[in-house]
Amino acid sequence: MSDSGKPMIALEGISKTYPKAAAPAVQELNLEVPEGTISMFIGPSGCGKTTTLKMMNRLIEPTTGRILLDGEDVTTVNADELRRRIGYVIQQVGLFPHFTIADNIAVVPKILGWDRNRITARVDELLHLVGLEPKDYRDRYPRQLSGGQQQRIGVARGLAADPSVMLMDEPFGAIDPITRDRLQDEFLELQQQIAKTICFVTHDLSEAVKLGDRIAVFGPGGTLQQYDTPDNVLTHPANEFVGEFVGSGAAVRRLSLLELSRLELQSVGLDGTGERNGAPTYEADAEGRPVRWAYLPGTQARPKLVTVPHTGTVYDAVDVMLDSQTELVGVVDGEQRLQGALWWKDLVEGLKTKGQA
């Protein structure tokens, strides 16, 4: 998530009015997506978010305004050549049913005239990247794959010619919730490696908050209402429309933005190694993994010791607390060592992040 600030793709005063339509679908839009970041386009139906996305690779030609790709004005260059420089992934995937998986991924490299060895190597590399074993999948046909696997291929195909910008139109919208969640996690991991500039249309606010470095909220008549970090959109909606759109769940959604590793947790000690001086202590097994609470200040109750990994978010911690009906949860590192504790009352009394006194 390097944010160098340099816009990789930018729209300047873009408008789209369809022929015979009275009102424009998108109005005077200015938007800059910094290199290597993910911008999520969200808003109610018919607010122009997909139209805006499709104007970026000119599947829809803007009526007025300029499109800048890496500083170059691409408003009037050859549209097909422009599209080969921009990855494009859609909800219905749209794999070519009569092409093998390898041929599907290789479409743009073939058009660009790469030699065969380079294409084969690239296809295998991309299959690895999206977590599908090349030798098992290369020669299969799309209909032999599940929906989730097809969308992985869709993403791999979009990445094939190593475009600097990826446009994704609700790529996980038609996938069941469990698979979608996994694909989102994989997508974030993938982005860590490839650091593409990504524009991503979604209608799911949780998805926007989870994946986005920035969220662009679109409003009626194709206007951009707010373009900011997820945290700011949730806590400081720019206007009434955004506030209403973000809705009453904003406070809860924010929990999933806060990683536990960034929090100032209550320190805990291994029982018997020091004084019971107000900090909770616990008993551990032979490998040092926490087993049960030994002492909790101010209470005789000994709730079950439940843990959550420090890579999780406050949302996960709350989930664990509600699930096991305890008022505190232990935060553990990768080796299952207890790093600290988070109390239920911390949530309402205000969470402290590290470096904040």
């Binding site: 690779n57 549209a79 599209r83 070519f96 009569h98």
Partner: protein, 227 residues
């Protein structure tokens, strides 16, 4: 003389008529196929086709061609062969022309249906990856529409095999002349055998075509969409 003895004695003649009949149908359907494919591809439009001055023109010509070719299919075959005679004379040329006219509707209908059956999402992703219209047509739309187009060609062939007999009325090639001769002298020696042999000959030609289509379908349908 019984039927089998008749066929035995006339075998060379019958095989020759059979080959003529087969070729007559093949060439007529070939011409109609080329016309229908070219027209169908040029005039193809769908929801994703960008609006331009030519879009209504293309839709109009396509529908017009479909109406005209379906109307042509209702012209009684004997009449059509007769009507072409003053312009094109006798023999193979008017026969091929008439049969090609009859073949256009089933083929064009299926070219149009096949091309519009291609999934919009597939076409949108093709456009989004920078495939131009010609590349899209040749490497995506045509292969995916092919099974439907092929079944249209097959229907055309089956219709034409029967109608081709009428070519005999204007001295055209195939079983027709033999059949008409037999009918004219019905009651005289071997006339019934002659009619029966020509009729069964058409069935044999149809059976050969079925085998050909089975093989063509097997080898030209892309593997990923084979049922």
């Amino acid at each position: 003389m019984d039927f089998f003895t008749y066929v035995g004695s006339e075998l060379d003649e019958l095989v020759f008529y059979g080959q003529q009949h087969f070729l007559l149908v093949a060439i007529a359907v070939g011409i109609a196929g080329a016309i229908s494919l070219a027209a169908g591809m040029l005039l193809h439009t769908n929801r994703l086709t960008p609006d331009s001055w030519s879009k209504p023109l293309r839709i109009g010509s396509r529908e017009g061609l479909l109406v005209a070719s379906s109307a042509a299919l209702t012209i009684p075959s004997l009449a059509l062969f007769g009507l072409l005679q003053p312009v094109l004379g006798l023999g193979a040329t008017p026969s091929l022309t008439a049969l090609a006219i009859y073949s256009i509707y089933p083929i064009l209908r299926n070219v149009v249906a096949g091309l519009s059956s291609v999934d919009d999402a597939v076409l949108e992703s093709a456009r989004g990856m920078g495939m131009g219209p010609v590349r899209r047509m040749l490497s995506i739309q045509l292969p995916l529409a092919w099974p439907v187009i092929l079944s249209g060609i097959r229907v055309a062939v089956l219709i034409i095999i029967g109608i081709a007999v009428v070519a005999g009325a204007i001295n055209g090639p195939g079983f027709g002349s033999s059949l008409f001769l037999g009918l004219q002298r019905l009651g005289s020696v071997n006339s019934f055998n002659q009619v029966l042999a020509a009729t069964l000959g058409c069935l044999v030609v149809a059976a050969v075509y079925e085998l050909v289509f089975w093989a063509v379908q097997r080898f030209t349908t892309p593997r990923g969409i084979r049922v």
